[in-house]
Every structure is written in C-alpha cells, then in structure tokens.
C-alpha cells in the first residue's frame, strides 16, 4: 500500500505550509519526514490522514485518490505527539475503540486488544486510565490503538517528541523492530535527524513547505543536494564557499600547503567524542570532531596554535541541480593567514 502525494499545497492565512510538494512512499517502507519546525512536515502528514484538506494537489493511497475521502474512511493509523489518549477510557477501551466502532463482537475485541497490548508490552495495564501511565506507556498505548484496526498505512507525528531522551531511544529501536515484523507502510515525522536516520529507511527532508531532497540516510549525508540538507542532516563547518563536516577536519601540528593556521579555543569532552573549537586567523570559528585517542596523541591545549587540513569540502553554487551529488572537491591550497578565499563567517 504505497502512498504518493502529488503537487500538494496548503496555506494557513498568509503562511504557506506546503508549496507544491510531491513525495513517493514505497509499499511497506518506513519513511521519515525530516525538517525544522514550520517546514510543513506535520501538515503533509495530516493531509495524508485527511486531517487537513489541501488547497491543491492529491493524495493517493495504494493508487487510489483519497483526496475527497473523509479521515474515518481512509484506514490510516495516526499517532499524535501528545498521545491524544481518550482520558475517560481505560487502556483496554482506548485500544478497542476502533474495533467497537467497527462493531466487532466483544470476545473478538478482547482477544485482539490483548494481542496488541502484548505486542506493545502493556498487557498488565489494561484496566488503567491514561493518567496512570508514563509518557512512554501512553505512546505505546496510542500505537496499539492505531494498529488495532489493521490500517493500510501508519502515520506518526513526532511520536517521541514529548518523551525524555532515554525512553525515546528505546522506543525508536522498538518501532524499527515492530516495522520489521508488521511491514505496514509507515511515515513518521521528526525534527531530529539522528532519530530519522536511526529508524527510517528513506528520508524526505523538508524546509519552508518544500521537499529539499529525499533518499537514504547515506545519500543525504554523503551527497546532500544543497546547503540546507547538508547542515540539517549533520554537523557542518563553513569555510568560505565550502562546507566540511567536523569529522573531516584533520588537526596536524606541522603546516603544509593544504593546511590552515588555527588556535585552539576550547576542548569539550563528550564521552568518546571530543569536540575541539578553533578560531582561524580571519576570525572564523570552526570545530573538529576527534576521538579521545586522537586528542591524547596531539596533546592539544587551549590557546595552542595548530594546523587544520579540511578533508572533503562541498560547495553548492546557487543554481546547481538538486541531483543529490553536489560538487565534491578536496580543498585547494591555501596561502595561510590573509586568505581571500575564507571570509569571516557572518
């Protein structure tokens, strides 16, 4: 049951939430809509569910145009960021809601609900009310409720956004495993690139109501179509017209024709990863990601003068086609101190 959206546009007053958006979601895939807040990703998801009506464009589920179908007939499972639990119903009644609406008989509902509660590891809590559950439990209940009616597609709107970091990581893994078991076409919205890359097979990066790029996590990371995608899917340093990832910055103690002088400003240890912040001669601030071993070998100190050798540098000219390849060039020789090619970062 693949999903496709063709030329979707939607405005709220003066704000254009979606601007001619088209996406393809293959049958059985797990796709992430990734973007900053206000990028239109939630609006797109809600339009697929029928919770928003599009100003233009269409939504197809399994090749059927559902644009005119009301939400309750679209057979979508939807999970909300803030759970949308029915507060006056028990966990059992919440999960069984869709089945009751479909007039299943009691015994069948009970069997199905318990099967799902087992799946989401809430079987002992069937008689609790949502207010008696933790955030993670509520969200698993909401997921069971959405899955109970065997939807054609599963849509998750920032499902882990309201949870704390540890629970979020657990649920991610759990969602990925669940998808491997159930193979229901799933789209989930997130603003967290790490979460998107961890869970989804395919990513769609959105910004200001448009799709910037879609592809696998590796595609986006290694071949970003533009500056926005490059900086959104990972950390980035700007060096003149080029961009380089902090883990592609080599730190050396002796200069050569490809290096640039820099002063160590700050060393931050984040567990295994070490973040070293530098300031270049022209005042540009950049940082490099080192391992603990690399740091120990270099014996860096604050205020020390070292040399940076940027690895893969990308530059995007204004009108380069968004083919996902970008222009990858190793950084050319630099003349050191007064380098016209490296303007101060704005």
């Amino acid at each position: 049951m693949g999903i496709s959206v063709e030329g979707a546009s939607k405005s709220f007053g003066d704000f254009q939430a979606l601007n001619d958006v088209s996406i393809e979601v293959p049958n059985g895939s797990l796709t992430a809509l990734l973007g900053p807040s206000g990028s239109g990703k939630s609006t797109l998801l809600r339009a697929i569910a029928g919770l928003e009506t599009l100003d233009a464009g269409r939504v197809l589920i399994d090749d059927e145009d559902v644009s005119k179908k009301p939400t309750q007939k679209r057979e979508v499972g939807f999970v909300f960021q803030h759970y949308a639990a029915f507060k006056h119903m028990t966990v059992f009644e919440n999960v069984g809601f869709g089945l009751k609406i479909r007039k299943w008989d009691k015994a069948k509902i009970s069997a199905r609900v318990h099967e799902l509660l087992q799946l989401v590891q809430l079987d002992g809590l069937a008689d609790r009310y949502p207010s008696q559950l933790s955030g993670g439990q509520r969200q698993r209940m909401a997921l069971a409720r959405a899955l109970a009616v065997e939807p054609q597609v599963l849509l998750l709107d920032e499902p882990f956004g309201a949870l704390d970091a540890k629970v979020r990581k657990d649920l991610r893994t759990w969602l990925r495993n669940l998808h491997e078991e159930m193979h229901v076409t799933t789209i989930f919205v997130t603003h967290d690139q790490e979460e998107a890359m961890d869970v989804a097979g395919q990513l769609v990066v959105m910004n200001e109501g448009r799709v910037e790029q879609s592809g696998s996590a590796d595609d986006l990371y290694d071949h970003p179509a533009n500056e926005f995608v490059m900086s959104f899917v990972g950390e980035v340093n700007r060096l003149g017209d080029g961009f380089v990832r902090p883990h592609d910055m080599d730190v050396v103690l002796d200069p050569d024709e490809n290096t640039e002088e820099a002063m160590v400003q700050r060393i931050v240890a984040l567990g295994f990863e070490i973040r070293v912040e530098f300031v270049l001669a022209d005042g540009t601030e950049v940082w490099a990601q080192l391992t603990r071993a690399e740091l120990q070998k270099l014996e860096l100190r604050q205020g020390q003068i070292v040399y940076l050798r940027p690895g893969m540098t990308k530059s995007f000219s204004g009108d380069s086609p968004p083919d996902g390849s970008g222009a990858s060039t190793p950084r050319g020789p630099s003349s050191g101190g007064d380098d016209a090619g490296i303007p101060a970062a704005a």
Binding site: G77, F80, F97, V149
Partner: protein, 269 residues
C-alpha cells in the same frame, strides 16, 4: 516579627471573608429555615400541600423539565459551533448569548409581551391557531428558557477549548464519524462542564421570578410557579406558607447541586 504580622493579616483576611459570606449569605438563608420551622413542621407542610401550593410545585417542575433539556441541547450545540467551527459572526453570537445575563428579567418579560400580547407581532397568527402564550404555560416556558439560556454555553465553551481537538481527530482516524465522535469522545470529555451548566440552569429556572411574573399573570392554581406562590403568600401575610415554599425551593436547587457532586465523587473514586 514580619512573620507575626503576616500571620495577623492572614487571619484578618480570613475573618473578613468569612464574615462577609456569613452576614450576606448564610445569616439570611439560615433565618428563613429558622422562621419556617419556628412553630413546628405542620404550618409549612400545610402551606405547601395546599392545592395551590402543590400546583405551584408541579408547574415549577414542568418548567424545569422543558426548559433545562432544551437549553442543554442548544447550549452544547452552540458551544460546539463557537469553539469548533469558528463560523463567521461567531463573535457576535458569543456576545448575544450573554444578553440574558445583562438584561433585567423584567425587561425580558415585557419584550415577550410585545411579541405575544394583544396587538403583539405574533399574536394574530397564534390566536388563529388557538394557541395562548401569555398568561399560560408556553409563555412562562419561553421566559424561563430566555433567562437561563447562557449557562450551559458559558460552562461548556471553556472545557471544549481545554480538551482540544486531538482526541476527536484520533477518533476520526479510528473510523468514527462525527456523530460517534461526539457521543463517545467529546461529550464524555466535557460532561462535567455540561453538568455544571445544567445545575445552574435548573437553579435559575426553579427560582426565576421577574420574567415569569410578567408573562404569567400569577393566577393561583393555574399560572403560579413556586417563586410566584411565595410572593402571593407573603402579600397575604401567610408567612409560614411563604417560608415553607422558600425552603422547598432552596432544597430543590441544593439537591441538584448535591446530586452532581455525588455523581462526580463516585466517578472520581
């Protein structure tokens, strides 16, 4: 030192608050109860169980039975319209709903007179159909609906806003149509707001005097509700009767409030 003076002012405030409530609310009400049963149970009971008294009680309950359900249905529907559909002109509707609070009941009674009275706008048509509105039950029901119209709307709007739309949207993704969503999700979520509105509406309809007095003519045994009965007894110097009916009114209103609290406590437990 400062803690002491803080304590003192807190006690002062408490004394002031309690004193105010006692003097203005509890003392007069308590006196009614005291006066009613000053000479035993017989005089007030006799007054209420007189044919006119019983008729007044019955008529009052009929008004409640008609006006309260109508205003509840209207109130919930209107609140849904105002909060969920934001139609054009909803600001105006919102303001108009408050009119019965702002206008004196006597004015409301007079306005009904202009519509349904002799030479009133609707009078010829109604007379032809043989329907008598003024000085009979229909007019009194209209007056009661008018004065008690805002309560359910005013109590329901904030709870509707508070619960938001996500639960309703979730219900629709699970296959529920608008009607099923309303009965199974929205109404259970707003029920205590609605219940409170119903209690206030009931109390108002039970106790309404001004508007009903104008349109009813207050004919004993025919168009006299309990508040009108109280007034008549008082005018006729039948104080036990007036006090007895007053206490009955107070008990009726308090018991609806009590019933709601009992139900709510039962559910919370």
């Amino acid at each position: 030192m400062s803690a002491h003076s803080g304590n003192g002012s807190r006690w002062g405030l408490r004394f002031l608050g309690l004193g105010y409530v006692f003097l203005l609310l509890l003392l007069p009400l308590g006196l009614i109860f005291y006066k009613t049963f000053e000479h035993g149970l017989a005089p007030p009971i006799d007054a209420i169980t007189s044919p006119d008294g019983l008729h007044a009680l019955k008529l009052t309950l009929i008004m409640v039975a008609i006006a309260v359900p109508l205003n509840t249905i209207f109130g919930v529907g209107c609140a849904l319209l105002l909060v969920r559909h934001r139609v054009r002109g909803s600001g105006v509707i919102d303001a108009i709903i408050n009119l019965p609070f702002a206008i004196s009941p006597i004015v409301i009674g007079l306005s009904l007179f202009l519509l349904y009275g002799t030479k009133g706008w609707f009078e010829p048509a109604l007379a032809e159909a043989g329907i008598k509105v003024l000085f009979s039950v229909p007019g009194m029901v209209l007056a009661s609906i008018f004065v008690s119209l805002p309560f359910v709307v005013r109590e329901t709007v904030p709870v509707l806003q508070e619960i938001g739309t996500e639960q309703e949207q979730a219900a629709s993704t699970l296959g529920a149509n608008a009607w099923q969503t309303f009965w199974r999700v929205t109404l259970p979520a707003i029920r205590w707001g609605v219940a409170y509105g119903v209690v206030l509406t009931t109390a108002r309809v039970l106790g309404e005097f001004g508007a009903v007095s104008v349109v009813s003519g207050s004919i004993s045994g025919q168009t006299q509700t309990l508040p009108l009965f109280v007034e008549k007894q008082y005018e006729n110097f039948n104080l036990p009767g007036a006090f007895g009916a007053s206490v009955l009114l107070a008990v009726l209103a308090l018991s609806t409030l009590l019933a709601m609290n009992v139900l709510k406590r039962k559910e919370d437990a």
